[in-house]
């Protein structure tokens, strides 16, 4: 289901929904916000930034910003963003961003979605280490919450 080196993270997931449905969940900023957990203020437009507050309890102070790269309907949606950008006092805009790509392929049962986030090697080790130390407890708890929620909701 996944592969990763130090530069990239790759995930694959089979979705029982048409590419049209998945495309809408990814590229309608309100739908994206619902499953991702962010209150995006504007629509996704190639070359333009979209931002909004994270809606997870405990992370509401974090503003997420993406700059849309490509929108090829039902095939490819990509954006740049700054990973580990969790300290509201830090200006991350000078750091190299990573690229997030959502690739859609139709299957007999729905859609194969591949998510690739790449460009981590350009982010200094020391920055990553610091973000990890700041963030680790919060996310561990959050992941547990999500697991509990998903297993309770059929």
């Amino acid at each position: 289901m996944e592969s990763s080196s130090t530069d990239r993270i790759e995930k694959r997931v089979e979705l029982k929904a048409t590419p049209a449905r998945v495309w809408r969940a990814l590229t309608d900023h309100r739908e994206f916000g619902k499953w991702f957990g962010v209150n995006l203020e504007s629509t996704f437009v190639p070359g333009k930034p979209t931002r909004g507050h994270i809606t997870y309890p405990g992370y509401e102070h974090v503003v997420m910003e993406v700059i849309v790269q490509k929108m090829e309907p039902e095939r490819l949606f990509s954006f740049n963003w700054h990973p580990y950008a969790i300290d509201p006092k830090v200006d991350y805009s000078k750091e190299p961003p990573t690229l997030v790509e959502f690739r859609l392929e139709p299957t007999t049962t729905g859609t194969l979605l591949t998510v690739i986030e790449s460009g981590f090697d350009r982010i200094p080790l020391a920055r990553r280490a610091e973000a990890f130390r700041m963030n680790s407890n919060g996310w561990a708890e959050q992941t547990k919450n999500i697991e509990a929620h998903v297993s309770q909701t059929p």
Binding site: I9, K11, A25, W35, D91, L125, R128, E130, A131, W139
Partner: protein, 115 residues
């Protein structure tokens, strides 16, 4: 730019400069390679088989210690050195953490589009 932000940036840059300086020397890399075999080593052990003096090895170890790559521990009267993989490990774990965040996000997406 806030003072805090400047402090952070300055600290990051200093930490990185130290890390890269420490790694950018063949003798120090050789010492790290010896230490990465697992156990703690004394200066005597680390000097064995090299053309370096104990003083030179001690000097290199100090640079590695300063960059947070090596830690000195005392056993009895002996000073031992061991690898401190913290900075590299933390960075690796940061990537694993993002990987887990994607797993969780995709589970939510799956529930969202399949409902």
């Amino acid at each position: 730019m806030s003072a805090r932000r400047r402090d952070n940036a300055g600290r990051d840059q200093r930490a990185q400069a130290l890390l890269f300086f420490a790694l950018g020397d063949p003798t120090r890399l050789a010492l790290l390679a010896k230490l990465s075999r697992g156990s703690s080593c004394s200066i005597v052990r680390l000097t064995e088989g090299s053309a370096l003096t104990r003083q030179a090895v001690t000097k290199h170890l100090r640079v590695l210690q300063h960059a947070g790559l090596v830690r000195a521990v005392r056993r009895g009267r002996e000073q031992l050195y061991r690898l401190e993989p913290g900075p590299i490990d933390d960075a690796k774990r940061a990537l694993e953490q993002i990987s887990r965040q994607w797993d969780a996000a995709l589970l939510r997406l799956k529930a969202f589009v399949e409902e």
